[in-house]
Amino acid sequence: MTNEYIQQILSDKFGTAVWGFEESFGIFSCNIKPEMNTAVLQFLNEEGSLGFRFLTDLTAVHYPDRKAEEICVVYHLHNLVANKRMRVRASVSIAQPDIVTMTNLYSSANWMERETYDFFGVNFIGHPNLIRILNADEMNYFPMRKEYPMEDPTRTDKDDEMFGR
């Protein structure tokens, strides 16, 4: 199974809803429209010649500079038989970070989506139990978004100009 083959079969099936094919550091990746995530991942799972049936990882990345697609949900898939990994990205806006849950396809997505909700506030539509998992329930912000400082912003005794990021 070559990258060209995956690209071909996905483009034939989904047209412009899938784009940005590239391979970097040994992992083939592509971008998809967020509303197509169920269709694409289900196709990657069920199409016999692709067989990406193992969800390795699900997380998100916050890019504050990308207007209207600030939150990027990243799926790492694995075809264990052919030993091929693939990364699928779906970007949503921070104002309305809605994406359909993948728990119907992968039981493992349950906690990974809860973690992603907990840290980035991504709203996984249809998730059976979308509550915080690692942080305290009463927290009213999503700490992994870039605008939240790591430490108490009212502190004045530390100067991060030299040693901070």
Binding site: S24, F25, I27, S29, R53, F54, L55, T56, D57, T59, V61, H62, V74, H76, L80, N83, R85, R87, Y106, S107, S108, N110, W111, M112, E115, F119, R132, I133, L134, N135, A136, P143, M144, M150, F163, G164, R165
Partner: protein, 407 residues
Amino acid sequence: MSDQHTPHIQLAEESIQKQTTTLNLGPTHPATHGIFENVLEIDGEKVLSATQRLGYIHRAFEKIAEHRPYGQIQPLTDRLNYCSAPINNIGWQLTVEKLLGLTMPKRVDYLRVILMELARIADHLVCNSVVAVDTGALTPFTYVFQIRERIYEIYESICGARLTTNIGRIGGFERNFTKDSWKKIDEFMVVFPKALKEFESLLNRNRIFMDRCIGAGSISAERALNYGFTGPNLRAAGVDYDVRVHSPYCSYEDFEFEIPVGTNGDVYDRFMVRNAEMWQSYSIIQQALTKLKDLDPSIYHADVPAYYLPEKKEVYTKMEALIYHFKIVMGEIDIKAGEVYFPVEGANGELGFYLISDGGRAPFRLHFRRPCFVYYQAYPEMITNGLLSDAVIALSSLNVIAGELDA
């Protein structure tokens, strides 16, 4: 003063009326071996449902990592699976080396393999002996902990620390293995087979142990894959997936070893798979020691001055060394922009580092794919309709490590 007695604990009426019992297994319960909570609903001895709660030792490593230079992230990885910290350390080093495009000399790879396999043995010894403790056999635990102590002494003589090792650096090891370390490794290679044999003869075919473990907390291969199982727990269900074989790193392709698999995915199979893996790890270390004999014993790091801290005496006498020292310590080294996912075979399964760099001094985003976190969510399904005592050994045989669960 009123005569009326008011109870300190007031229960809701429906809680008094109901026929089942709610039991808190955790957060600080001897059966959990870590800080996480299971609220079980039990009818007599039978588990009806389980609700998990975690996050008790969440330390926001992913957020902290966005504010630290690359070298300073390594001590955070110690605290993921603290039973096998060297695997986490070396996994992180390999991830950064992949991003930077560095290749290590063979000797560094083999030294790393030795450490990772020692860590795997230490981790499996803890897990398996604790399964025995939870079935009521305390003695084997005390026997194998002497072996684990030897492994910790090896770490100690290499890097000075025992539990949270912070062993090695990006670009190699901070110093060469000493004579003392080699002596300790050689001693370990002599005593370990005997000790593991003894451990196996106490438990493997022990009727009581087998009756307790066979069929308890089982999961099918299909469900295990759907739940994202990796490592020994997946292999016990019969799937021969091992990162060391599927995507070899750190010269694992140079070694001959087998992937032990089980069939039922129950506690006994997980126990047997871990035991068999320890023999394989032992054989890998033996092969690595043989291969090391042909290599120049003075090499312990790659020749990458821009990323690897120079020796102190050179810092005081050589201009370039001083510059590199300053740049590395201040986090001013050149890091490429890029997106890397690097998996290693941790003691519990696929430990993945998802690193996004934008060229800054700290990662733009770092995500740890923690095997425990992914597979522990299958626990309620594995124990429902089983006995409470089976739930306890199922938990210890999954080897859920709180540090890795919460990150």
